[in-house]
Symmetry: C2
Subunit: 151 residues, 2 copies
DNA sequence: TTACCTGCAAAGTATTTGCGCGTTC
DNA sequence: GAACGCGCAAATACTTTGCAGGTAA
């Protein structure tokens, strides 16, 4: 994400924080900025390491607390992963995921890249349907190269 | 799943085990049977509790080890969940999930219930596409009743 | 009989919590 | 100045591991 877009997101975060009476702290800004700048879907530990250079005194617990706050504000989302580690995503637009079954790499894909998708029924098994996302499994370019002999 | 289908699955498991030189133990059969009988997607603890009546001496560690073995045999799959707990699924057919955003309840849905879905491109962002699954978010009947005032 | 598997207990990893001090508003 | 949030360390929750005895083939 480019710098001006990030600033825009950060001030949106500030606005929401003020609205709810939450403090705008360096730590929360740093966590959110780190997540916005990353095209990946890092876990708490990775975010912590990324921030640590600029804020050597920040603690991992604070990163978890900041992520919690950002989730409550609705500016980030949680991403489930098969390895049992929580990953986070600053992209809150509806989108889909492309995941490598070999190395676990996870990329966002927009609806437009998937082509036209049908609208779902508004009710399924008694559930009121809100939205849906598609998880595409595949093999990433790197793993295709590495795994030519074993596939 | 009905009893005859379960027996069929269990003997398939026995066949695969023999093929790979793995022992067919009561504990593994019990774990697999529990998972087959459950329409839900239980976690290790839940499976353990379900088995415990019949096998009071089984340990939770054994349940984890049995689940590992079943995963390796490919007769069950892991299901990611937002709460950071691994859940398991004896349904290895390609299928989709319907999840309640309020209570986390998770149901399987077959492709036929979603209606016609378009074929995806065979390559996306350099990935070789293998397959995909759809996660539908919604509100389950129980939560619709409970949450009428708050929604 | 022999190799594999179980059950126990202890360790490991990811995440959460309590609390006194520091920071934001 | 008061409320809120941070950092530390300890606690918790889920899962994995090592090993001695037991079980399947």
């Amino acid at each position: 994400m480019d710098a001006s877009r990030i600033d825009q997101k950060l001030s949106e975060f500030a606005r929401l924080s003020r609205e709810r009476g939450l403090s705008i702290t360096h730590q929360r800004l740093a966590v959110y900025r780190e997540l916005l700048a990353s095209g990946e879907h890092p876990d708490a530990e990775t975010i912590y390491r990324g921030i640590h250079e600029k804020y050597p005194t920040i603690s991992l617990a604070t990163v978890y607390k900041a992520l919690d706050t950002l989730l409550e504000l609705g500016v980030i989302t949680m991403v489930k992963s098969t390895d049992g580690i929580m990953r986070f995503d600053a992209n809150t637009e509806p989108h889909h995921h492309l995941v490598c079954v070999r190395c676990g790499k996870l990329l966002d894909i927009g609806s437009e890249e998937l082509g036209p998708l049908p609208a779902l029924r508004s009710r399924l098994k008694g559930f009121k349907v809100l939205n849906y996302s598609i998880e595409v499994e595949g093999i990433c370019p790197e793993c295709q190269v590495k795994g030519q002999s074993t596939s």
